[in-house]
């Protein structure tokens, strides 16, 4: 089978973002989505440090230390963009005004629980940022991650063993192997990469999956 690389996952996520959507891209992997948004669609990116209408990276030498995204990388502002303070910014998030947020994950459970902020290690210094707000706030929470850990275990699990970011919050999972919807009655496979059979995906995932019913 042909696993997707990170850019390909990002491009696949980007394809699902419709014209006019308000979207927050979590720090890390999800920021790649910005580079793959389809041309011809006007998509308005939110950054939780107080920006709507985030534009592309500035040209070298054009960086402005007062204009950064939530990952603290320099960005630009599109025409039509706006600045606001942190309480207003998280009001947008918590108040369900964002159409989508896209988050990375350590684990997602069959119920849509998300774990992406803490490995659970007793010695680990915790840091949560805006992840818990995004997890409960966006109308649709999309997760992008590799399907398996480095040691080959499924990151889609019956129950998260890492500390939760949010309970029952994930709507769709994009991995290097498949696109999977989290439905009230379980996980539903929407797409698989070429050369991957449903049975193989089921075996690798280790949790019950079902195929999307198609018109026979």
């Amino acid at each position: 089978m042909k696993k997707l690389d990170k850019k390909q996952i990002a491009a696949r996520v980007a394809r699902d973002i419709p014209d006019g959507a308000y979207v927050n891209l979590g720090i890390g992997l999800p920021t790649l989505v910005a580079d793959h948004l389809p041309r011809g669609r006007e998509i308005i990116l939110h950054s939780e440090n107080g920006i709507l209408g985030v534009g592309p990276k500035p040209a070298p030498g054009e960086e402005d230390e007062d204009l950064i995204n939530a990952g603290k990388e320099p960005v630009t502002l599109l025409p039509g963009g706006a600045y606001f303070h942190h309480a207003d910014s998280f009001g947008m998030i918590r108040g369900r005004h964002l159409d989508f947020c896209i988050l990375g994950a350590f684990q997602v459970s069959v119920a849509g629980d998300l774990a992406n902020w803490h490995t659970g290690g007793a010695d680990a210094i915790p840091a949560v940022g805006g992840a818990m707000d995004l997890a409960v706030g966006a109308k649709k929470v999309l997760v992008m991650m590799e399907h398996l850990t480095k040691s080959g275990e499924s990151k889609i699990v019956e129950r998260c063993t890492y500390p939760l970011t949010g309970a029952r919050c994930v709507n769709r999972i994009y991995t290097d192997l498949a696109v999977i919807d989290v439905k009230p009655d379980g996980l539903q496979v929407v797409e698989m990469v070429e050369g991957l059979s449903f049975d193989e995906l089921q075996r690798l995932s280790g949790v019950p999956l079902r195929r999307l019913a198609t018109a026979a």
Binding site: D19, A21, L52, Y83, G95, K139, N171
Partner: protein, 248 residues
């Protein structure tokens, strides 16, 4: 990848559809912007006195015909036009406001005394904060306002620090009808002077905020430092020319 089907944008939460080619929230007329309001809707109406009152949108709401409305406004109508005319036409089941009784609130007064309208009287700051809470996804909040008064009767209370507080819940709306000074096609708004009043918070608390503006400008013409309501809170914008305003 073999695309089976993409149904991602069909979620029922997205009731007031944003998604049009090249985001353009400008509507041709107040009538077009309010055409889909069903009976039984909760509608916030901006304004404090005449400042910020969306007169043409209210006129269009009267013409549109929706009934059994719940209205959220600071007042309960003045004289014979605007909100007062909507009340007079018996289209309002309930009103939430802070200051219904005024020298010229005769239509409200008559309905109220006849038992034909329900009144939820809310202190002005609590009204504003409940609207803001809806927009900001706050489940409920404790406020010191109205503790120990008739308006807190039956409500949960709690002493927090040195203040006795009352528990208050958000006010969500289906529609908000507000007035701003200037908008672009993304729905970014700036207001004018004290006409700002309830506009920004009502826009955030409604599933579908409809804004009448005096002027529309090109995208990018509004200073991003000075935009008061970012377009994310706005679904529909209608330009109402100053001349139309005077005629109304």
């Amino acid at each position: 990848m073999c695309l089976l089907r993409s149904r991602l944008t069909e979620g029922k939460k997205v009731r007031c559809d944003n998604f049009r080619p090249m985001v353009n929230k400008l509507f041709a007329s107040p009538e077009a912007a309010l055409a889909d309001i069903p009976d039984g809707s909760t509608i916030m109406i901006g304004g404090f006195g005449h400042a910020g009152m969306p007169a043409e949108l209210i006129d269009a709401l009267i013409a549109q015909g929706a009934r059994e409305l719940t209205i959220v406004n600071n007042n309960a109508g003045n004289a014979d036009t605007g909100l007062a005319a909507l009340l007079k036409a018996k289209r309002v089941r309930k009103i939430l406001c802070s200051f219904p009784r005024q020298a010229d609130s005769w239509h409200f007064d008559a309905l109220y005394r006849a038992g034909e309208i329900e009144l939820e009287l809310v202190p002005q700051g609590t009204l504003a904060e409940r609207i803001r809470a809806a927009g900001a996804g706050i489940g409920a909040f404790y406020t010191p306002t109205a503790y120990g008064t008739r308006l807190a009767e039956g409500k949960e209370t709690r002493r927090i620090g040195d203040r006795d507080c009352v528990l208050e819940y958000p006010i969500h709306a289906d529609y908000a009808l507000i007035k701003a000074e200037r908008a672009d096609r993304w729905g970014n708004l700036v207001y004018r002077k004290s006409a700002r009043n309830f506009g920004p918070i009502m826009a955030s608390a409604a599933r579908c905020a409809v804004v009448q503006v005096r002027e529309t400008v090109e995208l990018g013409a509004l200073d991003p430092e000075s935009i008061v309501t970012p377009g994310i809170f706005v679904k529909r914008v209608v330009r109402v020319a100053p001349s139309m305003r005077k005629a109304a």
